[in-house]
Symmetry: C2
Subunit: 262 residues, 2 copies
């Protein structure tokens, strides 16, 4: 099955946030990420591939699997596929998925159940946000709240940087963090923020079975409003000359200590 100009145009529109919002769909490219997408419970809307896919060891198998999930599968040219992606790593395949909407309320555990949540307060860089989702996944976080000033979750660079994490745990977008954090506190969550002026060194922090950990913007950190709601301000002490740590690195350092909970 070949592809019409209008069809390609519609796919291409998904490289823009406006049309991702309008259609509630997003693009995923590359063998590894498409495999993850297909094994997830995200709805597969359609797939496009090029001859290049057949050259990859995992290519033919993946294509077969794609066909069991949707009949909307089109072969396109390299030029057409390149127009859908901003990388050279598509490896001959891209798929369209329906995006999911997670209600933060659904993530909150009202009773004694264990629950570790992470909130992104105005994390702006797509690579950072994606890497932080990947890191949350690795260290066993139960869900993520992306504040309404954070980068869009389904931005292709975010999706790619999650290395599949976007398919593994619930992530709510456009969350009013002030309301969400207040609600969490009412439900018994303990709230942690990272802060250059924090008083508890990251390795001395005791996490509770119900914990909410907030990471902030690349330039100005967590907003004062949210800092005021925190129970614990976590410090990562500096021993060198550089002014700040990258936020996804800080996220890894803090979350690496969650293992004491498990």
């Amino acid at each position: 099955m070949n592809i019409t100009k209008n069809h390609l145009k519609r796919l291409k529109s998904l490289t823009q946030k406006k049309y991702r919002d309008e259609n509630q769909q997003f693009l995923v490219e590359g063998i590894r990420l498409v495999e993850e997408a297909i094994d997830s419970d995200f709805e597969l809307v359609e797939a496009v591939y090029t001859k290049e896919l057949e050259e990859h060891v995992a290519g033919p198998n993946l294509l077969q699997k794609v066909r069991t999930k949707t009949s909307e599968v089109s072969e396109i040219s390299d030029t057409e596929l390149n127009s859908l992606t901003d990388t050279v790593t598509s490896q001959g395949i891209a798929v369209v998925l329906r995006r999911k909407m997670f209600d933060p309320e659904v993530m909150f555990q009202p009773n004694g159940a264990a629950s570790v949540l992470v909130a992104f307060d105005s994390v702006a860089d797509p690579g950072n946000a994606g890497t932080m989702i990947r890191t949350c996944d690795w260290f066993g976080v139960d869900g993520i709240l992306m504040g309404n000033n954070s980068v869009e979750l389904y931005n292709p660079k975010v999706v790619r940087s999650t290395a599949g994490g976007v398919f593994h745990l619930p992530i709510a977008e456009n969350v009013d963090l002030r309301t969400a954090v207040t609600k969490c506190k009412e439900l018994g969550y303990r709230v942690y923020v990272t802060d250059l002026q924090g008083e508890t060194h990251f390795d001395k922090v005791t996490y509770e079975q119900k914990s909410l950990i907030i990471f902030g913007n690349e330039a100005w950190g967590v907003s004062d409003q949210l800092k005021d709601l925190a129970d614990v301000r976590v410090l990562i002490r500096r021993y060198g000359a550089v002014e700040s740590l990258n936020v996804s690195v800080a996220c890894g350092v803090v979350l690496s200590n969650l293992h004491k909970l498990f």
Copy 2:
């Protein structure tokens, strides 16, 4: 002082590795990074700026400081400056610095002196390498050995991602890591590698006053050759579903435990 076409062409050539190597020079852009450059002991070769610089609070002051370090200062147009950089963050200033060559041998401490070194084994992504340098700086590492298969240190994206770290600690490039690690062992360094099959969890590792910690490639980790030379294989246990951690995050998690040494 205005700028000739040939002069601009020469500056532009520094956006390519070939000419950075040939001239032993590299470009740095943006107010914060140029400030760091000027305060460092890197030789300032020349500077270019645009009218935009004057609009920044710190702009005029910085320009004055630049002039005390070099007489080679030219005003150029926005279009000219944009042709020298791949970002929109130049903030009206770019400078040329002479690159430094650090001999790894000079970093090795032969006697009982404390020394924590980090080696990059084929770290390929500029953003990762830069972030790792920033992280090494933050946690007080004394020097970095970049293996001969790692990305070029003076790549603009690496320099930018270091957030100034490149100016704060000695970094040797094109290091034959097998030889360097063997030499370190002879001098009494204990050698650590991160490894998904490692046996010592990162928070149980005891670092020695003389430690060398090796981080590996984004896809395949540390090479077997170097793993075989390691005394300790460090594990970061996984609690979620994603297949791997980003290498700069892993670097942060491991180095965050160095503070027990200090």
